[in-house]
């Protein structure tokens, strides 16, 4: 394992200290329990958005804290969900009186800890609602598994719901639009090479030199199958076929296409994959109206990518375009 670290046990804390020092105008960081808030939190009378999960997926979620997106992010240890008292403390810190929306990726640990946190916050008199993101089409439904994992769609839920909160929607309305995005988004990932969690020091899985894991999860969980590496057009076609057929997205659909790097993939390959994806969607008559390409929900240094497709309506498009000012996503300001 080669990593730029001092000690595996202090990776998250030192990264948070670095983030706080790099972006003092945007965020401030609290320690023990650890959470990141907007520098100007709490914002009076605005619904506050709180998300979180294991660390190692940066810029998710801390990179999306700021005006127009999240009010707080709650990082757990690498690939391990945060604890309820962390989430409750973050909710308390950012509640401006209009309530708190928790955005939770569908992973057992995240669900259980945020559920407990919501009960604790509720007991303190904070109005809390929760939206679950479960967009990974690689996974069988909840009859067979813990349910679909929440992956790339989370970024889009956070952006669009964040804009709804910024324009003054109440808690029920912000939760409703977050749920609509969650319902209309589908994703799938693949890995060319695994990642290594600092405290374990071992790669998360193994692949032959010519193999990929199709449908991989953001912690290296297996997906649909190990298969031979193929040209980008073929890989993109497998992923987008699964995505498009699942909702289903139909000819004439207006969409947001998000090609995401998992941490170890160069931008040139992501744009190449984006080009493949545009060709595939054009072949199905699906319109791409908005795009996002880059590393936004990563898996440490995993080599690979995910593709996310969101069914847009006019309101979502307007909220997507609304100003956002965070460390990792910034436009219109």
């Amino acid at each position: 394992m080669k990593k730029i670290i001092n000690d595996p046990s202090t990776v998250v804390t030192e990264a948070l200290q670095g983030m706080a020092a790099a972006h003092p105008e945007l965020i401030s960081v609290s320690y023990a329990p650890d959470f990141i808030t907007r520098a100007d939190a709490p914002v009076a009378d605005k619904v506050a958005l709180v998300s979180g999960g294991g660390s190692g997926h940066e810029p998710l979620h801390g990179g999306f804290v700021g005006a127009g997106m999240l009010d707080a992010a709650v990082p757990g240890p690498v690939f391990t969900s945060p604890t309820p008292d962390q989430v409750t403390a973050a909710a308390r810190a950012v509640d401006g009186g209009a309530g708190v929306l928790l955005i939770v990726k569908n992973y057992t640990g995240d669900v259980l800890n945020f559920e407990t946190a919501a009960e604790l916050a509720d007991a303190e008199g904070i109005a809390v609602q929760t939206v679950l993101v479960a967009d990974d089409v690689a996974v069988k439904d909840s009859t067979w598994t813990a349910g679909r994992r929440g992956v790339g769609g989370t970024v889009l839920v956070e952006k669009i719901a964040g804009a709804a909160a910024a324009r003054g929607d109440d808690l029920a309305a912000v939760a409703a639009i977050a749920q609509r995005v969650s319902d209309g988004v589908r994703s799938m990932g693949l890995a060319l090479a695994p990642c290594t969690v600092p405290h374990s020091g071992e790669p998360s899985f193994s692949l032959g030199d010519d193999e990929i894991e199709m449908g991989v999860g953001i912690h290296g969980e297996p997906g649909r199958e190990k298969m031979k590496l193929a040209p980008a057009d073929d890989l993109v076609s497998i992923m987008l076929t699964a995505i498009v057929d699942d909702l289903p997205f139909t000819a004439g659909s207006s969409t947001l296409l998000f090609v995401n790097g998992l941490g170890g993939t160069p931008q040139i390959e992501l744009y190449l994959a984006y080009n493949s994806a545009r060709k595939f969607l054009a072949g199905r008559g699906i319109e791409v109206d908005r795009s996002l390409v880059g590393n936004y929900i990563t898996s440490l240094e995993m080599q690979g990518m995910s593709i996310t497709l969101l069914q847009l309506d006019d309101e979502m498009t307007e909220l997507w375009d609304a100003p956002v000012q965070t460390a990792a996503l910034r436009w219109g300001v």
Binding site: F79, T80, G109, W144
Partner: protein, 211 residues
């Protein structure tokens, strides 16, 4: 004999020691079908439990169990934090404010712990989770208590049943937690949560036997 505050503390310290000792092994089991942090997370939680026992002085077995619950909930994270934490919390409630726990109470404390885990995790038998170790342990403890056996025998019966229950998770296909994403590939591995339940109960039983 019955279970006092002192023997409960000794048993919890023994449990913390065994989790620290088995940390790498539990993490390796988790790497096979999960995300490879189970031992790490539990060890972090039980280290916090030990530290709290050094500074706080719970007055009843129930208060000891509650201290374990809150420490685990606030330090473990992942799925294990809420599951083990809720289990210990319900156990604490079942123990009440009694100064000593007899065999029958120990059996009902274990049953309450299982109730908490099932309520929080919504897992059923054969889902390949810690419930598959906890359930046979609860039944064995109830049978031993009904048979008039003492606390250490009740815990020994629970530990033996949990060990068998953990082994029996090996041929199962996971339907809960991160292992469920493996589908058929989860078959052939012992569930790390079930294994840690077995280690915990064995440590508790050994401590009860030694006191």
């Amino acid at each position: 004999m019955s279970c006092t505050t002192e023997s409960t503390i000794a048993a919890v310290r023994a449990a913390a020691a065994v989790i620290a000792e088995r940390r790498a092994e539990l993490t390796a089991l988790d790497r096979e079908i999960g995300d490879g942090d189970h031992g790490e997370n539990l060890a972090r939680g039980f280290a916090a439990v030990s530290a709290k026992l050094d500074s706080e002085h719970p007055g009843t077995p129930g208060e000891v169990l509650k201290l374990v619950a809150t420490s685990l909930i606030s330090t473990v994270g992942g799925a294990s934090g809420p599951l083990f934490g809720t289990g210990f919390l319900r156990a604490a409630t079942a123990a009440g404010d009694a100064a000593e726990l007899d065999s029958a109470t120990i059996a009902s404390v274990l049953a309450a712990a299982r109730g908490g885990v099932v309520a929080r995790g919504k897992a059923e038998a054969q889902d390949k989770t810690m419930v598959d170790a906890l359930s046979p342990a609860v039944e064995a403890a109830a049978a031993a208590a009904a048979d008039g056996q003492d606390v250490s025998a009740v815990l020994a019966a629970a530990a033996a049943a949990a060990e068998q229950g953990a082994l029996d998770t090996k041929p199962l296909q996971a339907r809960k937690g991160r292992a469920s994403y493996l589908g058929e590939r989860s078959i052939g591995h012992v569930d790390p949560g079930a294994q840690s339940v077995a280690y915990l109960l064995r440590a508790l039983a050994a401590a009860a036997n030694g006191s």
